[in-house]
Symmetry: C2
Subunit: 112 residues, 2 copies
């Protein structure tokens, strides 16, 4: 069981709807994709995601998913990622499924 946290800890997170505009294989890591994501800011973000084993490029492009939009940038095998996609991960990591919305919402819509 994780430690209990106050609501203010949750509120630090900028969770948002984003649309995956493009997906490419990471040049130096065979488990990673490099995605361009519209988070409603006018300019797409580069976000690296470990989804290559679980989703094809075609299954991701054009989809809306949920992202942490305010993570500090992280360099993953030479590519800077500016956010993180959320996914449900089975205990043995055999299954990974991204989160989505129950319906349609604009890119940039906040999750709370």
């Amino acid at each position: 069981m994780s430690d209990k946290i106050p609501y203010s800890d949750f509120a630090k997170l900028d969770l948002r709807v984003g649309e995956i505009k493009s997906v490419e294989a990471h040049p130096n890591a065979d488990k990673l994709y490099v995605m361009k994501v519209d988070l409603g800011e006018g300019e797409d973000r580069t976000i690296v995601a470990g989804l290559r084993k679980y989703y094809s490029v075609e299954e991701l492009v054009g989809k809306k998913a949920i992202f942490v939009a305010n993570l500090e940038p992280a360099v993953l095998r030479g590519v800077e990622s500016n956010g993180m996609i959320l996914a449900a991960v089975s205990e043995d990591h055999s299954e990974v499924k991204i989160l989505k919305i129950d319906g349609e919402m604009e890119s940039g819509t906040r999750i709370s």
Copy 2:
């Protein structure tokens, strides 16, 4: 734009798949539901959610959604809530849509 946060701030959250087992109108608040949610712990949690304007009881019962499982308990109009359901909320609050999984996952599955 929100402040940037380290990954460790995200990792404090216990985000999980949960199945909504029952939904009742809150006795003292006409915007709130009182839900029983299976978060994979053997015992259902009571979680209060402001979804009454946006979802019928029938639309919620039996659905899997995403929850913050380790929030400190909060008493909402006399009912203790032990967690929070995640939803996309439009800027003017006219639309609220819960998050779901792109496929099927067991209750209790962690989001990361």
